[in-house]
Point group: C2
Chain length 397, copies 2
Amino acid sequence: MTDFDATRQLFHLPDGVIYLDGNSLGPLPKSVPARLGQTARDEWGEMLITGWNRAGWVDLPRRVGDRIGKLIGAPGGSVVMGDTLSIKVYQALASALEMRPDRRVVLSDTGNFPSDLYMADGLIRSLDKGHELKLVAPEEVKANIDETVACILITEVGYSTGLRHDMARLTQKAHEQGALAIWDLAHSAGAFPVDVLGGGADFAVGCSYKYLNSGPGGPAFVYVAPEHTEAARPALSGWFAHEAPFAFDLDFRPAQSIDRMRVGTPPILQLAALDAAMDVWDQVDMSDIRARSVELCELFIREVERRCPDFELVSPRDAERRGSQVAFRFAEGYAVMQALIDRGVIGDFRAPDIMRFGMTPLYISPDDVQRAAEILGEIMTDRLWDRPEYRVKAAVT
Amino acid sequence: MTDFDATRQLFHLPDGVIYLDGNSLGPLPKSVPARLGQTARDEWGEMLITGWNRAGWVDLPRRVGDRIGKLIGAPGGSVVMGDTLSIKVYQALASALEMRPDRRVVLSDTGNFPSDLYMADGLIRSLDKGHELKLVAPEEVKANIDETVACILITEVGYSTGLRHDMARLTQKAHEQGALAIWDLAHSAGAFPVDVLGGGADFAVGCSYKYLNSGPGGPAFVYVAPEHTEAARPALSGWFAHEAPFAFDLDFRPAQSIDRMRVGTPPILQLAALDAAMDVWDQVDMSDIRARSVELCELFIREVERRCPDFELVSPRDAERRGSQVAFRFAEGYAVMQALIDRGVIGDFRAPDIMRFGMTPLYISPDDVQRAAEILGEIMTDRLWDRPEYRVKAAVT
């Protein structure tokens, strides 16, 4: 049984803050500053260039990839870290389209994170072969998978609504129709049990700075199904994707492993932070995380709904169809969120009118959720959001 | 006048080490560990998600880009940081090829860093429009610029030989022939004065972990000539390249600024390290750096050649045609380099037989160079390299 009091002690949470935005940026694991200092002083400082071998930097993207692999049901050697989620989406999609040369449709949904769609759009423009990025409503994805589809590109949990797709079912249909499936696990990895192998994902990608707590701009991960490793041609092939990076050949020969999804020199400081942040998972059972996440979400929905009748629940009411966040719609949601942050409850706002709250059992307790709902209730009852200072929009929220 | 005793004090150099590999990975600036701690504890730890605004993370790639811009003759707002050099090469080349739709040749040279060539190869494969990556010897680039060339892709200083191209002259010829010029400044930025604007570069890219000392895997930079900002379509268009990233539009609209070369969420920890590392340039005159670098290179060549008659100088003897490194060829170069590292002199080895030594005046003095040449002389005179333990090759050198 996971001890959530113990896991909470591993994170730095500022005094007086209830942090319900770990689905956007996870909080600082207490072990990270020391690890950063160690990597900078003892490795970079003392080993200099020899750190690539002596400190194992060259393999760090694989070693950390394997740690994440355990959380998403990926076999050892099938996950590697690097770059950003956007870059990894591009690589996965470029590989998938090359594996389905006679098909022209990339199917995604309007609830997908825009950057995934922008990257797909950029790739389609570059290819200039008449591909189409077909966007349908989230609930219509399955019905639109047919023999024209090269690939489905689906984020399991919608960033805005928290709606969770049944990835295994979508993937099964895709395969029946001869299409491939790319799973974006940005809001899944570390949030609940995932099984990329069992679910038949052809490619999976995700970021590490949300539920995996690697810090701002932490590297992304990419999984390639073992049967595709040798077929995947990820378009972006830098020297670390080469079979022998340090042979400095003029011709590119892809590594015969997941390394072919690597690109350039890996970001060692960010990887070290992530590696330290991954330690918490050694003492966590992912099914406990899921059970507690559902408990927190249901508590929050219940307690908010009875205090804030003007809010509309955007997330599915059925836990099975929901990720680890709760979203409400309210016309003045931006101002409400500012008032809430001012009172120490941090969630976030997604235009035009959605307030998002991430539920992260590693460091958020039922008491926190209860208290957050009470504060939200006070803000609504007393119209505390209706002040000029809460209505001024900042660049990022 | 730059005070090199003062700049040397800003770096951590391990006891007993003479570090002649700053052209591969710069050493640790003493200010970096504290800055990493501050970014982790005071920003990420205390501000959590609000750090994107309150700590200015969202603009950090631009602010740091402007600092590098000053070293390479780029106007404010024309340089941005992110990703890796390989990714930035891809973006620059994709933009350039789109700007020259009727041409099919990408001209580069066999001395270019392989990853640049691999990325070009990957792009050409993706485009599948009959582009050709034409590789010629470094001294033959100029003669091969003709009206078939869409773009020249040249690393100013060859990573292996140290040969320095006359970028302004190549670029002038390229423009006369209607071609564009991409400058890879990996071994230039921070090594000597660069003038991308005066030299007419259309795009310039480079990494920050060599002469700019940002640490392993530090982010890359990209410059776009101001007249091309609105024409550049960098292929990899993530959400931070959008005109309004936080509007979460389903359609991509490129930022009307250098931001369109950004891709995904920027690596804040690595950027913070780089930002701290950039402070040294506030007290440095780049022409002093160049004068001192030439002095160090000539001293090293002279002192090594009189001790090691079996070595062949690979770098140009003429300082004008050389970057800030010196390379020698010797059949047993690998073993010599291991013996040298064992004695505290760190250079590096590039297959099949090249020993490279970077000259970095910020923290390397004439005394260091003299001493390194003496140790190298002893290794050769006494055949100290001819031991089994120096002949075993590690994965990375």
